[in-house]
């Protein structure tokens, strides 16, 4: 008798459906007062996105021997934070983007004031969600998520991005900005999953740190490549925005070929680093490939 071979697409699809259900139950119903706000929160969160951050949490939970049920609150919390950041980033005073996940962005479908409150309330809900985590590490999860979200994480990265628009950044400065803006939450998603039930070992934490650092970078480089090579309809968000806003990207700084090579290198290094962990890391390796081989 042989074990069922691991098929990443089946694994990812099962967890994408699972997190949709979890988020569905975590968000207040649309008929709960205040109805317009709850309806807008559900619009902003449900039925869209690749759920990469939730998948990271579930994969890291498997890596440390936790069940999916243990990781549900972590997966939901990181998706709620991500959704809040998209709603606020799309607002007129930020990136002013009308399209998100293939549909009108939240402030277009509702209004600016509602979008502001949606983002605020989704952030609160993410932390509330973690207080229900079935683990003795809930405080640690909340601390990791708060640090990754705040001024020395995602919000800080957005601030650096605003300050940098129109300037040519060095590759190092670009990496710092993206470590704050995207990498911090990707790292938190992974660690929250790792703390879903058990105390991760030092070897596991080191491997996850290596994984998150490279995948955070790869994710952004791929985003930059897609922004420069893919049309808006395929992307589900406005394409070509970086060059329109004269932003430094890995494509403008390195060129398209070198950017692609960088992603391949990060991918290969990550697979090699996780190889000794065998079957426990099969979902993490699948995610590394998924992140690095998005069509471009």
């Amino acid at each position: 008798m042989t074990a069922t071979p691991f098929v990443f697409t089946a694994w990812a699809s099962a967890y994408q459906q699972r997190i949709e259900q979890v988020l569905e139950h975590t968000l207040p119903a649309s008929d709960t007062l205040p109805q317009r706000l709850h309806s807008a929160m559900r619009y902003a969160v449900l039925g869209g996105g690749k759920r990469v951050r939730a998948l990271l949490a579930y994969a890291a939970a498997e890596f440390t021997g936790a069940t999916a049920m243990h990781a549900d609150t972590a997966a939901a919390a990181v998706e709620l934070i991500h959704a809040f950041s998209l709603v606020h980033d799309d607002m007129p005073c930020m990136d002013n983007d009308d399209l998100r996940r293939g549909k009108p962005s939240c402030h277009k479908a509702y209004d600016d004031a509602t979008a502001l409150l949606v983002g605020d309330a989704l952030q609160s809900l993410a932390f509330e969600c973690l207080t229900h985590a079935p683990t003795s590490h809930a405080v640690q999860q909340i601390q990791l998520l708060a640090q990754a979200t705040g001024s020395r994480g995602m919000c800080g990265g957005q601030s650096i991005d605003l300050q940098s628009t129109g300037q040519t950044l060095s590759v190092d400065a670009l990496a710092t900005m993206h470590q704050y803006k995207t990498g911090a939450l990707i790292g938190a998603a992974t660690l929250l999953g790792a703390y879903a039930a058990n105390q991760p070992t030092d070897a596991q934490l080191q491997a996850l740190g290596y994984f998150s650092e490279r995948m955070g970078l790869a994710f952004q480089v791929v985003d930059d490549i897609l922004d420069s090579t893919t049309d808006t309809q395929t992307l589900g968000k406005t394409a070509g925005k970086d060059s329109a806003q004269a932003k430094s990207t890995y494509v403008t700084l390195l060129g398209l070929d070198a950017a692609r090579q960088l992603v391949q290198q990060l991918h290969q290094d990550t697979l090699t680093r996780l190889a000794p962990f065998g079957e426990t890391a099969v979902a993490l390796r699948g995610l590394a490939t998924f992140i690095c081989e998005r069509p471009f």
Copy 2:
């Protein structure tokens, strides 16, 4: 030998200074990357406000036998949430107010995008702060604060307020709106302080519930009275805004005299309810008087 008599103004002044120091140390320094965001966060939080929510946390901590040191994280967290709400409420897409605590509001002193990020990052910081609470009740504190902040608390109240502008509300509908918008965070401030160290008794929790409910209402009625009777300079924020925006208030619905009588009744009921707790409730009673007797 007799005990030193309790002087509320001295008590409040000592704790106002204490919370300023705690917030000073909780906020990242202005020279920490990203500097502009950190500078704006400090601008929005430090050097202003009556710190009523922090005082509630400290008074409730005294009530349950916790030390000030135990309550510092609770007091800081509720002030950070309050400051975040003021920054976002003042933005052009919300109340569009240029003046706050006697100085330009955050989006005027900086810019709209920075103000948006300031609010977001202050919320994260509030929850991070509570993860450092020296208590086994940190998860419970975080849950209470998240619920009071989110869509079924403060953010929800702001949404109801937006939907209600221009309509004449019933007194009940007005009370519901303010319970979400202001009352929830006042209740959370009190409960967070109560859970600063020990498990509060049922008798303490019931008394605090009574206190919070009445003081939440009194706080708002006094705000409405002040908005209609005080000039902008004294208030430190734009006065007469409610009538300019055709908002229902306790003054428009009840009339000025009945609104004042309501506050006196709430004040008296609260003092009576807390009387059996003797010295442990002296700061709570002082706060009730402070909230109800702001000059009007």
